[in-house]
Amino acid sequence: MTSELDIFVGNTTLIDEDGLWVGGTVSDAVALRVRSGILEQTGATAAVLQSDTMDHYRTFHMLERLLHAPPKLLHQLIFQIPPSRQALLIERYYAFDEAFVREVLGKKLSKGTKKDLDDISPKTGITLKSCRRQFDNFKRVFKVVEEMRGSLVDNIQQHFLLSDRLARDYAAIVFFANNRFETGKKKLQYLSFGDFAFCAELMIQNWTLGAVGEAPTDPDSQMDDMDMDLDKEFLQDLKELKVLVADKDLLDLHKSLVCTALRGKLGVFSEMEANFKNLSRGLVNVAAKLTHNKDVRDLFVDLVEKFVEPCRSDHWPLNDVRLFLNQYSASVHSLDGFRHQALWDRYMGTLRGCLLRLYHD
């Protein structure tokens, strides 16, 4: 007796909460479910589980086409799915694995990268099917919002109906892919996707074209807003900051201002005093180099090399880093000879946030 055909169709489409259908084969999913102890909980047989899993896979297979453009899922008539389940479906489908996203973050979402998935899958322990889905999701979102004006997060939310949190993550992924930031170097391995996403958000808020101009909520002023690209003019201007390290007087004054303010407040004061010029040179040089695309890509490598690693080797506590960066940024306002205060704030405000996030073991 073999089952030729076995289906279950509900007027309300049943969506499995565990969302196992998003990756792997049916037998993988069945094995996973068996391990979850569902058979013992429900007293069901393996055959029942197999049949149920097949139903979910079939449903998913039919829904997948719609999930490529989630608004379609809302307007279609074939599957009656309660809104909460629609949200769940979309959320599950667009969910990604930390391990996977770290592999492709900052890479061009091209065919070449797609070929790498064959290597990424065994490396991360994520099934190839799941890898492909995640990669295709990244690429699809990228393609849709690439040429779009307006807030990146809003665009993603509108076209993919993602939750706020997931939409922000995708904004970061798209932003990184667009600017091709290097994240795969060995010294960057300690950083999580969350660290990068945090930085991406700060950069989108402050360093892109969308960041200049009026309030971002005013629809009329958004015509030139582009969240994807860094503000080229701003990057050009950053060269002007070089004076802070090139002018020896200015550098000394800056150092003394910082040291005076922090004396007695830092546990690592002496190390800071000794390293000040190196650190300052590092931070300012990073800024000055951002005119070149190649250097933009290496932003995170540079930040880690020039700032995070020296501090870490001297065992700066995080709080001392914070105090130092605050003072380091603020003291520039007292440098009379320095004329680019606004530019400095735009640069350092974001960088300070990023560095604090990047500074951990």
Binding site: F8, E17, D52, P71, S84, R85, G150, D218
Partner: protein, 1067 residues
């Protein structure tokens, strides 16, 4: 010219890409009604065309309005080659033809193609202007309302229940026409779909005429089926119950407001007879009929049964209510005699009634209080017929590969006239009628008819419940008065229907009578089988459960008469076995009555399948069922004895467990205390289980001695062992689950609002060719049990819940294939309240029955659910606790996002600020809709249920019947995910199309939904499959009871809202 049909094509969306080069489509629409066709302009290069056409007007007879469907075809314009069809929409405009139903059909319809499935959607508006018809010889029956619901619809009152109406129409099947050889599968499928639609329309119109003739205004319990007889044609037949219904003045009084002013203009005064002098001569409508029937000279019919071979070829069995209620052939003579005497003894009103109507049948399964006086038992009849056979050896099947073999010779095509089929059914109905009379009953309720066809053999079946009815409802007012009063006074509440209608001294079959355990005045049988729903006022102890008897019998492959004879010979044994199984299982559950009994016998090439489903209950009025005793035939063997006693223990344990599970703890009433006459000791019946003997042994019942209350199973061969085993292998549903095949689950009366209707289909391939009956039985049993287990697993998130109206259908599509289709609805209930109420349920129902008699025909379902306000967001409730918060969160933001998405579609860029501006308006929209709050912005939720009610809600309006027939075919089966993928997608599409039609009528639910046919054929070698599905139900508007209480005044707008706004919101 009594009607003007107006159609407007608004827009399309999600169309498929028809031009590969541009990835776009140049779509236009053809609107066809009868022979008139209109076209829209071509909307160039868009997948979301906005035609916004003018109103296309068709001036037509109302006869055509009833018969013809509106046919909308979406095409892709092609300058150089033929235009490609994208798909079609058939719209049945019947709901627009009677007042009180829908006034407009407007909404998004899925565009359906029989090869590709749903391909986008189209927004259509349809209206009808009807003029009053003064022609007294008209053939139309506009204004007669149709309901699939097998009880008096919720917002109506039955003035008179007239009785049985039936009709059938026959045509040749387009699939078998010579032209099918040269046309595409698509064209063939569409021809079939259109033909069935036409035939359904014609059938409905003819039934309507009969109703008007009877001076009724509605058909309740309308059941339409089609028989695919293959080459001998296509039969569409329908039965129903003619009634005169009165709209109940609703307490909330919002319904009149709901009717738009234009509505009043087309109102037909059908409460008075619109046509007092109709001279229509019943079914033979001269002009129209010719189109579909064949000239008698060509028709040729051969029936396997002649009058003298009647018994052997057409076994018609009446199943009584007794534990051995089984009449074989010889019994029949006795029966006939009793028929006479019973009738003579009765007389009075029932007799009068019988003379009035040819067949006193009622397709209803639930009745107004006081309608049902006594129930006799199940009556059924079956007949094996030979369909016309064409001598065409090349014919193999219906699949595509055989198309090329079909006959070119048009003249050799034979078809029976409708009269032949009519005669067949008349014969069966006559049989049923006489069975009912034998049971001392003048009427049959819960009546249904079905067929099973395999090649040229056809089994016709009919069954129902013999009953004595209160004549008050059956005839026009005046006479009723005192008679009715007397009847009701005599009727003890809650047990009256159990009292035997037949004469104690002249019992039609050996049954064991006792005095009613409820009133102690009348006699009741020990077991009661019925095809109806449990009467609402019945006193029940504990809960009910689904009981199934399953049986397979191998049969030699044979041709024509030999085949029919073989089947006829097998049938009585099958009936007997099924009955025995049912009885055993019922006793094993510790129950004493079956409701909603459906016995389906399916015929295949090399086997017969029997599947009986019913809901077992413990009726307080009936005696406690005895246990089951096992007796061995070889008493000397020690180990054997041990085995027997082991089995016996197991059975006893199961009975005890079941009693606990279903909370069956009848009060111990000592007979002496009551002081009623001591019931005569009940006798044991021993069923001899030898297979070799013919049916006369069955009647040879041992009535003389034995222990009281015992039901003995003799294990004399492996066969019987098998049966005992199978008894014990039926696993009870997991805790938190209950199941029944009736409308109401006895013992559960606090439904919460979450419902999930589903269809599940399984096909198994039997492994070996040399199967035995036992192996076959086991396979079939496993199939059904596994299917049920799967359902319980799938619906586990709804616990505690009950599967209601579980409807199994078996078919044998090929030699080694068994297909089981299940449709049911899972309804959640409140467990805590269930515990409290079950204790008082009996008393409660008694009280209710006594008070409800005044307030007629309102089923006390509201009573069950109004105690708890329905949950505003059902899906969240079903999920586990930690998940629900997530769900809520998701839903709130997704609704916000939806508004964003929508505005984006309009072309403007949205930001947070404007979204906030827009949202109050959007929310307002939600609030104004009658659909539940979880409805999203464009697609309203449409509930579907096989029940006649929606828990926690009140049906405020019936919009008309939905009766749809679809064919889906594929030549790329593997690419569509194999047979499972293909059928899964198709059923989902059928649901979608039903929902879309209901939504377009302005409704938000389908009640009494039924999938009448699901014929699936595959040819994996050719990568092909084909499926035909026929569904029906009543489109309704319902309002949540919680909403009713809060804002009763706001509701009128709410009801009309979906109608008018649907189009605007979405474009």
């Amino acid at each position: 010219m009594p009607g003007k049909l107006k159609v407007k094509i608004v827009a399309g969306r999600h169309l498929p890409v028809m031009d590969r080069a541009s990835d776009l489509t140049d779509a236009f629409v053809e609107v066809k009604f009868g022979n008139t066709t209109f076209k829209t302009d071509v909307y160039l290069k868009s997948l979301n065309p906005q035609w916004n056409s003018e109103w296309f007007k068709f001036e037509v007879d109302d006869e055509d309005l009833q018969d013809e469907p509106l046919q909308i075809t979406v095409l892709d314009h092609d300058t150089y080659s033929a235009n490609d069809a994208i798909g079609k929409v058939y719209i049945d405009i019947d709901p627009l033809l009677y007042s009180e139903a829908a006034t407009v059909i407007s909404g998004w319809f899925p565009i359906y193609d029989t090869i590709h499935g749903i391909r986008g959607e189209i927004n259509v508006v349809v209206k009808v202007d009807l003029f009053n018809d003064l022609n007294r010889f008209r053939q139309s029956s506009c204004g007669v309302k149709f309901f699939c619901t097998t009880s008096i619809p919720k917002c109506y009152r039955a003035v008179i229940i007239h009785g049985f109406v039936e009709e059938l129409v026959v045509n040749e099947d387009p699939e078998y026409q010579w032209i099918d050889r040269i046309r595409t599968p698509r064209a063939s499928n569409e021809a079939r779909q259109r033909l069935i639609s036409l035939m359904s329309g014609e059938l409905q119109r003819k039934i309507g005429l009969k109703v008007l003739e009877m001076r009724g205004n509605a058909v309740v319990g309308y059941l339409q089926c089609f028989d695919l007889e293959g080459e001998s044609g296509l039969v569409v037949r329908a039965i129903g119950t003619a009634c005169t219904l009165d709209k109940l003045s609703s307490p909330a009084a919002f319904l009149p407001a709901c009717n738009s002013p234009s509505k009043d203009m087309k109102e037909i005064p059908f409460n008075e007879d619109p046509n007092p002098n109709t001279h229509s001569s019943g079914p033979s409508t001269p002009l129209k009929n010719q189109t579909y029937s064949f000239s008698p000279s060509k028709s040729y019919s051969r029936q396997s049964s002649s009058s003298d071979t009647d018994l052997s070829l057409t076994p018609k069995t009446g199943m009584g209510s007794g534990s051995a209620g089984k009449e074989g052939g010889p019994f029949k003579a006795l029966l006939r005699q009793q028929t006479q005497s019973a009738l003579e003894q009765r007389g009075g009103s029932p007799h009068r009634f019988c003379r009035r109507r040819e067949f006193p049948f009622f397709t209803l399964t639930a009745f107004p209080p006081g309608f049902l006086v006594h129930v006799g038992g199940v009556v059924s009849a079956r007949s094996v017929k030979l369909l016309d056979r064409i001598h065409n050896p090349a014919f193999v099947g219906i699949m595509g590969n055989t198309r090329s073999y079909k006959l070119l010779d048009w003249n050799s095509f034979n078809s029976d006239e409708p009269e032949t089929r009519d005669a067949w059914w008349a014969e069966i109905r006559q049989e049923i009628k006489s069975h009912a009379k034998a049971l001392g009953c003048h009427a049959v309720v819960g009546y249904s008819e079905s067929t099973s066809i395999c090649e040229e053999v056809c089994i016709l079946s009919a069954s129902g419940t013999a009953a004595v009815l209160n004549p008050r409802f059956l005839q026009d007012g005046t006479v009723e008065g005192c008679l009715e009063q007397r009847l009701e006074e005599n009727l003890p509440i809650g047990c009256g229907f159990c009292h035997i209608p037949y004469d104690e001294l002249n019992m039609p079959f050996p049954a064991h009578l006792t005095y009613c355990y409820n009133c102690r005045k009348q006699k009741v049988p020990d077991v009661l089988f019925t095809t109806i729903d449990l009467p609402t006022d019945a006193a029940v102890i504990g809960k009910g459960c689904l009981i199934q008897a399953r049986l397979c019998r191998l049969k030699k492959k044979a041709q024509a008469e030999a085949n029919a004879t073989a089947i006829s010979n097998l049938l009585p044994f099958m009936e007997y076995e099924v009955h025995t199984q049912l009885m055993n299982k019922l006793k094993l559950k510790g129950m004493n009555a079956l409701f909603g009994l459906r016995i389906q016998i399916t015929v295949g090439e090399n086997m017969l399948m029997g599947l009986a489903s019913a809901t077992g209950v413990y009726l307080a009025a009936l005696p406690t069922p005895g246990g089951i005793q096992i007796a061995g035939k070889t008493p000397n063997d020690g180990s054997y004895e041990q085995h027997i006693s082991h089995m016996q223990k197991k059975i006893n344990d199961t009975i005890a467990k079941n009693k606990e599970l279903y909370e069956i703890n009848p009060p111990e009433i000592s007979e002496e205390i009551i002081g009623s006459p001591i019931p005569e000791p009940r006798q044991r019946s021993r069923l001899l289980r030898s297979q070799s003997e013919s049916s006369d042994e069955v009647t040879e019942l041992d009535l003389s001695h034995g222990k009281k209350d015992a039901f003995v199973l003799e294990i004399d061969d492996t066969d019987a062992m098998e049966d005992v085993h199978s008894l014990l292998t039926d696993v009870p549903p997991p805790s938190g689950f209950y199941s029944c095949n009736t409308e109401i689950m006895p013992g559960i009366n606090n439904w919460t609002s979450e419902i999930q209707m589903f269809t599940s289909v399984r096909v198994i391939r039997l492994s070996s060719l040399n199967l035995t009956n036992q192996a076959l039985n086991k396979n079939f049993n496993d199939l059904c049990e596994n299917l049920l287990k799967s359902l319980y697993f799938k619906l586990r998130s709804m616990i505690p819940c009950c599967l209601c109206h579980v409807n199994f259908t078996v078919s044998l599509p090929e030699d080694e294939l068994i297909q089981v289709t299940v449709t049911a609805v899972a309804i959640t209930f409140d467990k805590n309240q269930a515990l409290q109420t079950t204790k008082t349920h009996v008393e409660k129902s008694l009280q209710r029955a006594s008070t409800d008699n005044e307030e007629l025909l309102q089923f006390p379902l509201e009573l069950c659910s109004d105690s708890l306000p329905s949950h505003p967001f059902p899906p969240a409730k079903a999920t586990s606790v930690d998940y629900s918060s997530f769900a809520d969160r998701c839903s709130s933001w997704i609704e916000l996002i939806k508004l964003k998405a929508q505005t984006i579609r309009r072309g403007s860029i949205k930001t947070t600020v404007t979204v906030e501006k827009a949202s109050p308006m959007g929310e307002g929209n939600f609030r104004n809709r009658s659909a539940p709050p979880c409805a999203n912005s464009t697609v309203g939720v449409v509930k579907m249920t096989p029940l006649s009610f929606i828990p926690g809600a009140k049906i405020t309006k019936y919009l008309g019947i939905i009766n749809m027939f679809f064919i889906r075919e594929t030549t790329s089966l593997r690419e569509e995910g194999g047979v499972s993928g293909f059928l899964h997608a198709f059923i989902a599409e059928v649901f979608a199309m039903v929902r879309a039609h209901v939504a377009a009528l302005g409704g938000n639910a389908v009640v009494s939904y039924i999938m009448k046919q699901c014929v699936f054929m595959e040819n994996p070698n050719k990568n092909q499959a084909q499926c035909l599905i026929n569904v029906s139900g009543d489109a309704v508007v319902f309002v949540r009871e919680s909403d009713l209480e809060v804002v009763p005044t706001q509701q009128p707008t709410a009801n009309c809202q979906p109608l008018c706004t649907e189009g605007e919101v979405t474009t």
